[in-house]
Symmetry: C2
Subunit: 229 residues, 2 copies
DNA sequence: CCAAAAGTGTTACGCCTACACCCATGG
DNA sequence: CCATGGGTGTAGGCGTAACACTTTTGG
């Protein structure tokens, strides 16, 4: 492509939309924003923004996440690009969707409240604007794919967690119950967790030992954690 | 986002780049175009083009494929979006990469020759322009992912093919040899192939029966074909 | 004591791997 | 008749699923 060829081609707004996953009380949740004006008033929207001159799509997503949740160093994965010419009735906008995994207890509550945002369980989601519903579906699928070859959890759970909390998280991600005994053996065999001497007694009478992720180890594992995906 | 908010944001050229896979003589190949001018003269480029006013990214990719290979109804999958601000030295261009699977004997030879294009084996690729090398790597990875849960072959092989041709194709995609006996059993157990009475004697003295894909069946299989990815 | 979660052990089954082995045929 | 690819059969191993069973402790 020659430089002078560029000029004759149209240019578009390029947006980023973030599917922000958090995990709380055994439920996988999504941070969404209510749309305050027509069209699509009352429906809910992903957190988004426009790509600025000197940033990449990833930069833009991180900027948007920082501005609305106050969080840095977030685990972020690109999902897919949505580009139907009529997808946004306001103007031609091409949107790159990513998902983010955040610690639901660490975000800036004030900032989020000021934006009117709300955490929605993934199995009870509201009406979305535009094509945001299929964005969420794509993001969830991508998360499942990733979680089947990489142990997610560091990004969503507290630093110390029990194996049953991790199992519940995987249950929430895959919408499926995992056998406690087998899940325990499978996960421990991966060798990426470290047992601590701390017991968590909030969820059972007996109390369960807490684990943490080993430093330095890549959580991407050689064989898949979840076989069926 | 309100309509009047759009105007203050920058707009960019949005391109599509296609990683076109073909399969010939046991080798997985890529259709590439030589760059005829500086910068990056002599290096090779993916087939690309700009997204026009009334088309989606997918539309644009299909248009570009049609214009340069003469092929319609191509199997096309979006891979990822590349957006580093400096990725194209000529101008700010955000590019959405897809891969295409084509029958290497059916494309329009003249059209391709006129463009100076050339099929390159994936294991002997030339120098690329810009970030096209990592585009190809991402595309190959995505193809591997897809081929492990969906039987690709309809899109790359002739209508009638032997199981060993299919095995060679999978070997080329995953850069790994599959055991003939085990591959045969695994593939046939999927139940998506139909044996014909036609024998192909070009590749062995004994001759091998040709198979074809069953009509109507979805080639996406429940358990994965290739376990290690 | 009992319910309920934590944690360990056992068994059976399915699938994959790695071969051995027969078949057909052109040179 | 033999080298070569086509095609079938089989034994071993590994991982998982299913589930029994034991431990701990607050109510």
């Amino acid at each position: 492509m020659q430089d002078n060829q560029y000029i004759q081609h149209p240019r578009y707004h390029v947006a980023v939309d973030c599917v922000i996953f958090g995990y709380e009380e055994g439920v996988l949740k999504l941070l969404l924003y209510p749309r305050g004006f027509e069209p699509s008033l009352g429906n809910w929207s992903l957190l988004g923004g426009f790509v600025q001159e000197k940033e990449s799509v990833e930069d833009a997503s991180r900027r948007v996440l920082l501005n609305t949740t106050g969080l840095r160093d977030i685990y972020l994965q690109q999902v897919s690009t949505f580009s139907r010419p009529d997808r946004d009735p306001g103007a031609r906008v091409i949107s790159v969707v990513s998902y983010a995994l955040v610690h639901i207890d660490k975000y800036d509550k004030e900032l989020v409240r000021d934006h009117g945002a709300h955490w929605w369980p993934v199995d009870k989601m509201p009406q979305f604007i535009f094509d945001h519903k299929s964005m969420v579906q794509s993001a969830l699928f991508k998360l499942q794919q990733d979680a089947s070859v990489k142990l997610v959890g560091k990004e969503l759970l507290p630093d110390l967690f029990t194996l049953n909390q991790l199992r519940s998280l995987y249950g929430a991600i895959f919408q499926k119950d995992f056998d406690p005994a087998n899940f325990r053996k499978k996960i421990l065999s991966l060798g990426v967790l470290e047992k601590t001497s701390i017991k968590n007694t909030t969820e059972s009478r007996k109390g369960a030992f807490c684990y943490k992720f080993k430093e330095e180890t890549e959580m991407r594992v050689s064989d898949r954690i979840v076989k069926f995906i």
